[in-house]
C-alpha cells in the first residue's frame, strides 16, 4: 500500500501512523521533520510543483516497496506557511523485519530531500530568504545508488 499526500493542513501523526500499521508486518519505522526555530526562523513556507511532486513521491515509494519488500510506504508532506515545531514531512515504512523498515525510511527521506520538487523559504521577522540546496543532501541521497 502506497499513500502519498501533499497538503496545506497540519499532519495528523496518529492517524497517519495508524494507516501505516499492519498486523501482518510487525515493524514500522517513521521519520518526522519539524520546522526548527532555534536559529531565529519565525516562519517556513514550502512551495511545490503540484502534480509533479505527487508523482515523484509515488515513484520513490514504489522503489522502496520493491527494494525492501515493504507492506506499506507513506509520505505526507505539508506545504504553505508553517511555524517552528510544525511537522513538515512524515515518512512511514512498514515491513516484516525492522532492518528493512528502518533502511527504507532512511532511503525515502534522503531521496525526498533531493528528488522531489519542494522549495523552502525562511522568514526571520521581516526578512525572508529562499533556502539554498545543501551538498550534504546530495551525498546522503547518492549513497542509495543511482536515482531511479
Amino acid at each position: 500500500m502506497i499513500r502519498v499526500v501533499v497538503q496545506d493542513a497540519p499532519i495528523d501523526l496518529a492517524a497517519e501512523h495508524a494507516l501505516a500499521e499492519a498486523a501482518d508486518a510487525g515493524a514500522v519505522a517513521t521519520f518526522t521533520g519539524l520546522v526548527r526555530g532555534d536559529d531565529g526562523v519565525t516562519e517556513l513556507a514550502l512551495e511545490h510543483y503540484p502534480g509533479a511532486t505527487e508523482r515523484a513521491l509515488e515513484r520513490l515509494c514504489e522503489q522502496a516497496v520493491e527494494r525492501w519488500t515493504l507492506a506499506k510506504a507513506v509520505i505526507v508532506h505539508r506545504v504553505g506557511p508553517m511555524v517552528p515545531g510544525d511537522r513538515v514531512v512524515f515518512v512511514a515504512t512498514t515491513a516484516r523485519h525492522r532492518g528493512a523498515a528502518l533502511e527504507a525510511c532512511a532511503f525515502l527521506i534522503d531521496r525526498l530531500k533531493t528528488g522531489a520538487p519542494f522549495w523552502k523559504r525562511e522568514r526571520r521577522g521581516s526578512e525572508a530568504r529562499w533556502v539554498e540546496a545543501r551538498e550534504s543532501d546530495d551525498v546522503a541521497a547518492a549513497r542509495w545508488g543511482a536515482a531511479g
Binding site: 512551495e47 511545490h48 508523482r55 515523484a56 522531489a116 520538487p117 519542494f118 522549495w119 540546496a133
Partner: protein, 85 residues
Amino acid sequence: MAIDLLYFAWMREAIGTGSEQVDPPVDVTTIADLVDWLGTRGGGYATAFADRQRLRAAVDQAFVPLDTPLAGAREVALFPPVTGG
C-alpha cells in the same frame, strides 16, 4: 508551437509570474535553447537564469537535463535546485 512554462521559488519571484504560455522560434530545439531565448527578454528573466549551475528543468513533469530536446513538450518547468523535505 505553444509551450506552457512554469517557474518556481525565487525564479518565479524574479520573473514576476508563475506561469505563462510562449511560442518560441523554430531554432529553439532544447531546454537550454529555450532558456537562452527567454534570457534575451532581459530583466527578471536574465536574473533568474544567470547561473546555469543553479537551474533545473522538467518536461511534462519529468525531471530532465538542460540539453533535452523540446520536441513535443507541452509543459516545461524551470526552477532552482530543490530544498524540500
